[in-house]
Subunit: 213 residues, 2 copies
Amino acid sequence: MIPNRLFRQPAENARGKLLEAAVKLVRMQRFAGTSVDHLCRQAGVTKGAFFHHFPSKEALGVAAAQYWSESTGAFFADAPYHHIADSVERVLAYIDFRIALVGGPVEAFTCVAGTMVQETFGTSDAIRRACETSIMTNAGALEADIAEAMAQANVTGTTAASLARHMQAVIQGSFILAKTQEGHACADLAREQLGHLRRYFAMLFKADIPDPL
Amino acid sequence: MIPNRLFRQPAENARGKLLEAAVKLVRMQRFAGTSVDHLCRQAGVTKGAFFHHFPSKEALGVAAAQYWSESTGAFFADAPYHHIADSVERVLAYIDFRIALVGGPVEAFTCVAGTMVQETFGTSDAIRRACETSIMTNAGALEADIAEAMAQANVTGTTAASLARHMQAVIQGSFILAKTQEGHACADLAREQLGHLRRYFAMLFKADIPDPL
DNA sequence: TTTGCAATACCGACCGGTTGGTATGCCTCA
DNA sequence: TGAGGCATACCAACCGGTCGGTATTGCAAA
């Protein structure tokens, strides 16, 4: 799963603690379902500190999306699949890595940006844009690898950018389906769906690389 | 798009009007973001009528998910793709039909059950279960067609049920990505993603049926 | 080195408005 | 005449946000 705590050092100031709390609580109970008071309690700071650092709850939402984007960006930048020489294998290894991250309760592996954009697309343009940036930046990090694999396998009829977005679409969709379940069925269903994503890319790239799982 | 009004006659009693209002408002501003007062205003009834028909807001959410499930179920049961004799073509025609339904503002084509389950999976088991039933029933309606197509094309390594769920996963994921955009880009992005779903199934079934669009 | 002062970081009581929900009354139709 | 189908008035809890105030820090003049 994508751990709630990545490789960032524990926040010591109120702002950092609030962002940590936001990532955790938004995953569990969404943005609108989390009150400012609850956020402060979780972070161990007071309401005064909250509004000292953020002009509004919406501003915290924007900052949390950016914080999430940076954290996950760094996390995936450090991931082991980058060292694989063959581009097709590298792209499939990315999917395998995402599958390996799925586990535990649903709030442990789902995406903060995907959760937030669904609830704020109609009410907060600022948060919507921050979530768009997060998801599309995440997709963009794979584009070069996908483009290389497409050239290698002579894939036509689509673009690397479109395929990179498809990764995100299936990942987000698998999280939605996971949220319809309870207990271990959440992770099982998400993994099953990412397996189809893997199969699609393997067929596209005409690769016959066995699933390591 | 999946029209807000399907083939149901206009509701005349308060209960029906409230369910219609719920489907419309939940699509636009989610469940938690829609107050009981707003719901009543939209339906043209009073708060007394609301709590006469539903013991709580949560109960309305459950009923709305069931109402949505029945409406969409009837809508897809009447759809033209059922008349296609070849099972592979029939499954691809279903995807083409879903692509054709995408259009207009994002609240016109997104899924009520997918929207609701994301915001209630942690707070309301009853609504979560109703949404699960809606999504999985929708998936189940395709299972027989997919099983037939799999047998025809000798597809192994997965199941018809799993592939049917994948349809829903990609559809839900495409809606999430659509919600990161604004204007016509919402529908464009959703259609692009469903195009990948079509390509996956076409490759699985070794079909070379040109996209009609 | 000490003093003065302003900026920063933080505190928690409080406010107006909104929320889901209730209590009660009226009016129609079997 | 009574029971279902509403309407109106109201409530307590909670919400995001404000405000007056304090503790700590950095820095420059004396």
